[in-house]
Symmetry: C2
Subunit: 337 residues, 2 copies
C-alpha cells in the first residue's frame, strides 16, 4: 500500500520535533495548548492517520483480543461475539475471530496464529473433540491470558465462563416430569465434552429426585450430525414402551429428531414432548418444536468472559499467586408454547 503521512512529515512542516507532534496528538499535558492546536489542525488537514502497527510494535501490545469459536454458523456463538464486542469496543480493542470448524488441527494452527500475532488476550470455545489442553498451555508460556467460554475445559486451572449446565439440565428434565412424563429419554452430546456430561448429570439428578429409575437404554450419545440423531431416534422409538419425552442436548438435535418423527412416526409427533438447551429465534416460525428450552445467554457469557479477560489484561500486578476463576451464569427454562 501507499505510504501515509507520518509524524515526521508533520514535524517537518511545522518545524517541530517528532516528539512534540506525537505528544500533541496524544494530548500530553506537558504540551502548550497552542502547539497542540497547530499540530491537530495540520493533522486534520493532511488526513493524518496514525500507523497503529507501528504503535502496537513500539508498545508491545496489539490492542487485539482473539476469539476462537467452533463455527459462526451457530447463531449462539454470534451472540457471544456481540457480547464480547460490547466490552472490547469500550476498551478500544479489536477482535480477531477464527473458526475451528470443530477440527483440532485447524484449532492448533489458529492457536499459533494468535500467538504470532501477539493478541493481548484470548477467549476460546474449544472444539467438541478437544480433550487434551496442552495445546492451550502455550498461551500460559507466552503470558497471554485465556478465558474459556461455553464449553468448559475438563481439568482445573483455567478461567472459564459458562452456564450452569447441571442445573439447566435438571430443570429441563424436571419440566417434563412435572408435565407427567415418566419415561424420559436423553439424547446427549459426545461423552468427550464436559458439558455433555454435566447435562447428563442434571438429567440423572432430576430423575433421582422424583424417584424415577434410571434406564441406560433411554440415553443415547450423538455427535450433532443429523445422521446420528436419526440413529438414536430409531433405537429409542423401537423401545417398548417408547419414551413419551426426550430431553436433548440442544435445539438442533430436537429439530432433527422431529424431522425423523415426521418421516417415520407421524402418529407419535403429538405425543412426544421435547426439551433441550438453546432458544433459536427461528422457533417463531415453527409448528413443531420443543415444549420448553433452557435459555443459554450467550451474549452474557461473551460479555462476562470479556470483562474477566480485561480485568486480567489491565491488572498490572505481578502474576505470581495467580488464581483461576470460573463463572457460571444461571439459566432458566423458557416455554416455547
Amino acid at each position: 500500500m501507499k505510504k501515509g503521512i507520518t509524524l515526521k512529515d508533520l514535524a517537518k512542516k511545522l518545524n517541530m520535533s517528532v516528539s512534540t507532534v506525537s505528544k500533541s496528538l496524544n494530548n500530553d499535558q506537558a504540551i502548550s495548548p497552542l502547539t497542540k492546536e497547530r499540530v491537530k489542525e495540520l493533522a486534520a488537514k493532511w488526513n493524518y492517520v496514525a500507523n497503529e502497527s507501528a504503535r502496537h510494535f513500539k508498545l508491545n501490545k496489539s490492542f487485539t483480543i482473539g476469539f476462537i469459536l467452533p463455527d459462526l454458523r451457530d447463531p449462539f456463538f454470534v451472540e457471544a461475539i456481540n457480547g464480547i464486542e460490547e466490552v472490547a469496543g469500550a476498551e478500544k480493542y479489536n477482535i480477531i475471530l477464527a473458526q475451528s470448524h470443530e477440527n483440532t488441527c485447524k484449532e492448533e494452527s489458529i492457536v499459533n496464529m494468535m500467538i504470532r500475532n501477539r493478541v493481548d488476550g484470548l477467549i476460546a470455545a474449544v472444539t467438541k473433540n478437544t480433550i487434551d489442553m496442552t495445546l492451550f498451555e502455550k498461551f500460559r508460556t507466552v503470558g497471554i491470558p485465556v478465558i474459556y467460554i461455553v464449553r468448559e475445559p475438563r481439568n482445573d486451572g483455567f478461567n472459564y465462563v459458562s452456564i450452569n449446565n447441571v442445573e439447566g439440565a435438571f430443570k429441563a428434565t424436571d419440566f417434563l416430569i412435572k408435565k407427567g412424563h415418566r419415561r424420559i429419554a436423553h439424547i446427549m452430546g459426545p461423552r468427550t465434552m464436559p458439558i455433555a456430561m454435566a447435562r447428563f448429570e442434571g438429567y440423572r439428578q432430576a430423575l433421582l429426585k422424583s424417584k424415577i429409575p434410571f434406564d441406560e437404554k433411554l440415553v443415547k450419545s450423538v455427535d450433532f450430525t443429523e445422521k446420528e440423531t436419526e440413529k438414536a431416534m430409531v433405537e429409542l422409538m423401537k423401545l417398548d414402551p417408547f419414551p413419551t419425552a426426550v430431553f436433548t442436548f440442544k435445539n438442533d438435535i430436537t429439530l432433527d429428531a422431529i424431522v425423523f418423527l415426521k418421516k417415520k412416526y407421524k402418529a407419535r409427533l403429538d405425543c412426544i414432548d421435547f426439551t433441550d438447551f438453546g432458544n433459536l429465534p427461528v422457533f417463531k416460525y415453527l409448528e413443531y418444536k420443543p415444549v420448553a428450552s433452557v435459555k443459554e445467554d450467550f451474549f452474557e457469557m461473551g460479555r462476562q468472559a470479556a470483562l474477566l479477560l480485561f480485568e486480567i489484561i489491565n491488572d498490572n500486578r505481578q502474576d505470581t499467586e495467580k488464581t483461576f476463576r470460573g463463572v457460571k451464569i444461571p439459566c432458566k427454562v423458557i416455554i416455547n408454547r
Copy 2:
C-alpha cells in the same frame, strides 16, 4: 504481555548474527543447510514464535484484510465469511471482521479503524442506508483496495461482486406467473438500496414480458423489520381482489408475512404463493415457506471478492490507469417443495 524469545536471543546463543538467524528461519537460499538446521533446532527447542507485529511494521504490510458487514446474525453473511476465509487462508492472510449493525455512524468508525490498522485490502457490504460513498473514498486516498460485495454501490468507479439481481427477480416473478398467478405483489427493500431497485426492476420486466399490467398498489417498500412487513401485508390483503402471490425481497420478509397470514388470514395461507431471495437452511423445518427462492450464493460471492482483492493486492504494477471491475454471479431458482 511477557516478552518472548527474539531473533537476538537466538543469535546470541548460536554465536551468529541476527541477519543469519532471520534468513535461516525464512529459508533464504544464501544460507548453508547446516546453519539453517542449527537455527531451526534451537528455535524449536526454545519455542520461538516470530513477532508478527514487528514483521508487519517492518514490511509495511499487515497481512490482514478487513471485512465490513452489516450483521453476523444474518447467516448469509456468515457464508460470505467462509468464502473469504478460504481464499485468505491460502494467502496466509488474517481477516478482521466488523459489524456495522446497519448503522452509518458505526460504519464510519469501522472505516477509520480499518485505516488505522492498515489493512492491506477491504471487502465491504455497506449498510442499507449508505447512499453517499464519500466515506469510502478515504480508502482510495490511502491506497487500500476495496471490493464491495452483495450490496452494490450506487455509483460507478468501484469494484464489486454481487449476484445478478435483475435476473434473479425476473426468474422469481416469472416462476409465479408460470404457476398461473396474474395478481402478483412485490414487497421490496428500501428504495435507497440499489439492489432493492434492481429486484424491483426484474419484477417489472417479468410482468412486462407476460403482458401483465403493472399496478403500483401491489408494490410495498419495507425496511426489513417485522412491523413494516406486517403493515405492507395489511395493505395488500385489503386490496380487492387481493394478490394471490407475493415476490418479496428476501426470506425474512416472507417468513414475517406468513406469520401475519397465520394470525389474520388463516384461510388465505394455502392460496397465496411466495417467492423471494435467499435459501435459509432452516427451511427444512418449516411447514409454511416460499414455494421457490432465488439462491444467492454468498460463499461464492465471498470467494470471488477475495480472489479479486488479492489480484489487486498482489499486483505490483503502477496503479495508474486503474479500471474497476464488477462481477455478477448468476443465480438460480430453488424450489422449496
